[in-house]
């Protein structure tokens, strides 16, 4: 076909552009939409409560919950509750994560440990740790021990699984490279295997952090004087739904903060990912 042929073809009446069939299936980052949904929901809720559409007995207005929160802050109990909860959470989560990393690395690298421990992990992981709480109280006492232990166990297992499955996924060519340059086993583990496992460890931490918050509240509902869980339980017993909502919102915000921190850590530590 010569150039003139193409020209004459394009003047033909039987010419149409190729229909576009691509696109879609790709999410775009839309900021403020999530925030907008929250605002609309709360506005509707507030409006519903004020207009009597939502009975205050069933659900207190957001403004009432906020008032309950301010009362709590003014009384000085807020600090006590938060301090107690955060201390348990940080202690249990940190110890659980560190232990989980150690055991997960062991399972990932040692076939004897894998054969011996991983069935045990699979057997204990699905047990709701709350069910074990009475046992923990007998073992570690009704005080801090049992609460920290519950959180520790809850964050331990997801970390173990994330760590060893991450190690399984490490690019073998990188390990072979390390061996071919005569690096010691310890060097290969520390400088190649563990950094390559970091993405998996961090996504495991996301799960174990959420589980920890759930277990924190559950543990604090039994025999705790202070803590957000204790506060929520007390509010529930007194039918003080405004306090209950305030407590629940605090938990939600706590979860959001933890998630945000992990996202920041991912952004900072995993910037090398393409």
């Amino acid at each position: 076909m010569s150039v003139t042929d193409i020209d004459s073809a394009s003047t033909d009446s039987d010419v149409r552009p190729v229909p576009f069939r691509g696109g879609g299936f790709k999410t775009i980052d839309r900021k403020f939409v999530g925030l907008g949904v929250f605002i609309v929901l709360f506005a509707f809720w507030e409006w519903g409560s004020r207009s009597g559409f939502i009975s205050s007995l069933v659900l207190p207005a957001p403004s009432e919950a906020l008032e309950a929160f301010m009362d709590l802050a003014r009384s000085g109990d807020l600090q006590l509750h938060l301090a107690a909860s955060l201390q348990r959470l940080v202690l249990g989560f940190t110890c659980g994560t560190l232990l989980g990393l150690t055991v997960g690395t062991l399972i990932g690298l040692n076939s004897l440990a894998r054969a011996g421990i991983s069935p045990l992990v699979s057997a204990i992981f699905p047990i709701p740790k709350i069910a074990l709480l009475p046992l923990f109280i007998i073992w570690f006492g009704i005080g801090e021990g049992s609460k920290v232990a519950t959180i520790l166990f809850g964050s331990f297992f997801p970390t173990v699984i994330a760590t060893y499955s991450g190690i399984d996924g490490v690019d073998r060519t990188l390990i072979r490279m390390g061996q071919s340059f005569g690096l010691s086993r310890w060097h290969i583990i520390r400088k190649i295997v563990l950094p390559a496992t970091l993405p998996s460890i961090l996504s495991g931490m996301r799960i174990s952090a959420s589980i920890s918050i759930i277990l924190l509240v559950a543990a604090e509902m039994i025999g705790a004087e202070y803590g957000i869980g204790a506060y929520v339980l007390l509010a529930g017993n007194l039918m003080a739904t405004d306090q209950l909502i305030a407590g629940v919102v605090m938990l939600s915000i706590l979860g959001l903060i933890v998630n945000f921190l992990i996202s920041r850590a991912e952004k900072y530590l995993l910037s090398w990912r393409s």
Binding site: M177, S180, L183, H187, W272, S274
Partner: protein, 254 residues
């Protein structure tokens, strides 16, 4: 130091993959090994550096490695094998750490090797910022940093597009002119073999045997693609391999 391959045979279970391989890689010599896919080229290379043990026969180091060599037998991998979380500097320092070198020693070595490979401008880049060709240049620099006696190159240009391959081949020739390293260069690309090899070892299809060893007595820098002698050599190699490649292609994998 020379590397001598003596009567090497290898089986994977009941399946023989290499049979009675004999050749020597001399000092400052590039030996290219070609053969149809699945003939055991890569297995042979893994044995040369001690990453795998041959079923029969042995690989011998003859003579002393150069003074100060940290890793006499050093690989360059097809897929570069750079740590994505480390910079160019960090990737090279990885293979220098753990040898009891001081930090300043390591830094001088890195600076030196980056200069020799003309990568000084990229010292702080991380792998995801680099093109495939640059990644392989960094991997080659990393290999040279440990002062190897023999470079073991496993299809180093196969993951690159043909233009980049051409550029890197010229780089390798220039580098060899300056450094005179010895290398065993595995490839399935006949053009690479005739351009880079002082000798070309042709393997048959599985189980791989040495079919022929072709000496190419021409300086590397003179080997122009338009040179009829080079074209003739490449054609001869292809004639040798055509049947084997055809048969290997039609073979069912077990």
């Amino acid at each position: 130091m020379q590397l001598r391959i003596e009567n090497v045979s290898h089986d994977y279970g009941p399946l023989p993959v290499l049979s009675d391989i004999n050749f020597t890689i001399g000092e400052g010599e590039i030996v290219c090994v070609i053969g149809p896919s699945g003939c055991g080229k890569s297995t042979l290379l893994r044995m040369l550096g001690g990453l795998e043990k041959p079923t029969r026969g042995q690989i011998l180091e003859v003579g002393k490695p150069p003074e100060g060599s940290l890793n006499p037998l050093t690989y360059v991998f097809q897929d570069f094998a750079l740590l994505p979380w480390r910079s160019v500097h960090g990737n090279i320092s990885l293979v220098l750490e753990g040898h009891g070198l001081s930090k300043t020693d390591i830094d001088t070595r890195i600076k030196d090797v980056l200069e020799r490979t003309r990568l000084s401008d990229f010292e702080s880049a991380i792998p995801k910022q680099l093109s495939g060709g640059m990644k392989q240049r960094v991997a080659i620099a990393r290999a040279l940093a440990v002062d190897p006696a023999v470079l073991l190159m496993d299809e180093p240009l196969s993951a690159l597009d043909s233009q980049t391959r051409e550029l890197l081949m010229a780089d390798l020739i220039g580098l060899w002119e300056r450094e005179r390293f010895a290398a065993c260069y595995i490839t399935h690309n006949l053009n690479e073999a005739v351009r880079l090899g002082h000798r070309v070892v042709v393997l048959s299809r599985r189980p791989g045997k040495v079919r022929e060893i072709v000496e190419i007595d021409m300086p590397l820098e003179d080997r122009d693609m338009t040179d009829p002698r080079i074209a003739k050599l490449q054609q001869d190699l292809w004639d040798m391999m055509r049947e084997e490649a055809l048969d290997a292609d039609r073979e069912l994998t077990t």
